[in-house]
């Protein structure tokens, strides 16, 4: 050995058993527990929040109205499969927030800059006679910081968002029916 080693001090040296424990913890830390895909009560509550039923048997009309409502609210349609009652849409918007900016600056991390907001609408005929159509919409957002890195992806679970979406949808359906 060319490198001179300092005389071992009892306080700074790891004992064998300690080292082994640390290594084990390190290895365990690398193993991610796989999400087990169970329907938790939390997820069921979200379903409740995001779903409404409409008294109609015309699913195509509902999905058309959803598509135009999404466009009205500034979304662009990414993917759709009308046979299965699906629309996905997204928009990119500013995400700057004064409070978040102050906190981020104090912590020395880049503050939020912009975000991609995503919407997923799924319709399906329900009820024994198929006289109702259920509509479920899910919103989530991907937030980017000033260095354009993804900072977080979160579901938007504020009940107000969903209430206002469904109010608008009801209005649009009503208007369309009476045109």
């Amino acid at each position: 050995m060319l490198i001179a080693r300092p005389v071992s001090k009892p306080l700074t040296r790891l004992r064998g058993s300690h080292a082994a424990t640390l290594c084990c913890l390190l290895l365990l830390g690398g193993c991610a527990t796989v999400p087990d895909l169970t329907l938790s009560p939390e997820l069921l509550a979200q379903r409740q929040l995001q779903t409404r039923r409409f008294e109609t048997n015309d699913e195509q009309k509902i999905i058309r109205t959803c598509a135009s409502l999404l466009q009205d609210t500034g979304f662009t349609i990414d993917e759709s499969e009308t046979k299965l009652g699906i629309i996905t849409a997204s928009k990119r918007r500013d995400a700057t927030n004064v409070a978040q900016w102050i906190v981020a600056t104090l912590l020395g991390v880049p503050p939020d800059k912009d975000q991609i907001m995503k919407a997923l609408v799924i319709t399906s005929p329900v009820g024994t006679s198929g006289k109702q159509v259920s509509v479920r919409v899910t919103f989530e957002r991907i937030v980017f910081d000033e260095e354009n890195r993804i900072r977080k992806i979160e579901a938007l679970n504020d009940p107000k968002i969903y209430q206002s979406f469904f109010e608008k949808l009801s209005k649009a359906l009503f208007l369309e029916a009476h045109e």
């Binding site: 796989v34 999400p35 329907l39 046979k83 009652g85 992806i153 979160e154």
Partner: protein, 150 residues
Amino acid sequence: MKSDRFCKKLIVMILLFLLAGCMTTQERLLDVETSQVQLRSIQSRVLDTADKEKTMRAVIATLQDLGFMLDRVDYTLGVVTASKSRSDVFQPHAIGSLRMTVTVRQRGEKQLLVRANIEYQLRPVTEPKPYQNFFNSLEKAMFLEAHQIE
């Protein structure tokens, strides 16, 4: 010193362990370390229905229930791809980590074969539990019993 030798041995062992984890691109491309046959039986279920549309709708509803966002859907191919990448659900550093593809295929005259593939944090999921839970939720959504393939 005794503990010194122990430490050295431990380091060598860990290095070997880490080296054993290294794979070539070809091995990763074809995921050679997993048993294909066993995995197929974990990932597949047979449904006693020929209604592809209803089955696909149930798959999509189940995925949405589980908090997934849809990436791609094709009725003709019977493919649904979805991902769940919310950082508030899992560890904050594991963004964009959970992806899933479900295919629905005709199997004979009166049955459909549903196959799910889950990928989590750059690895295929080979544990049976998540698949079982997914198929249980799907069964509930369809009021049908999904059998294991023989």
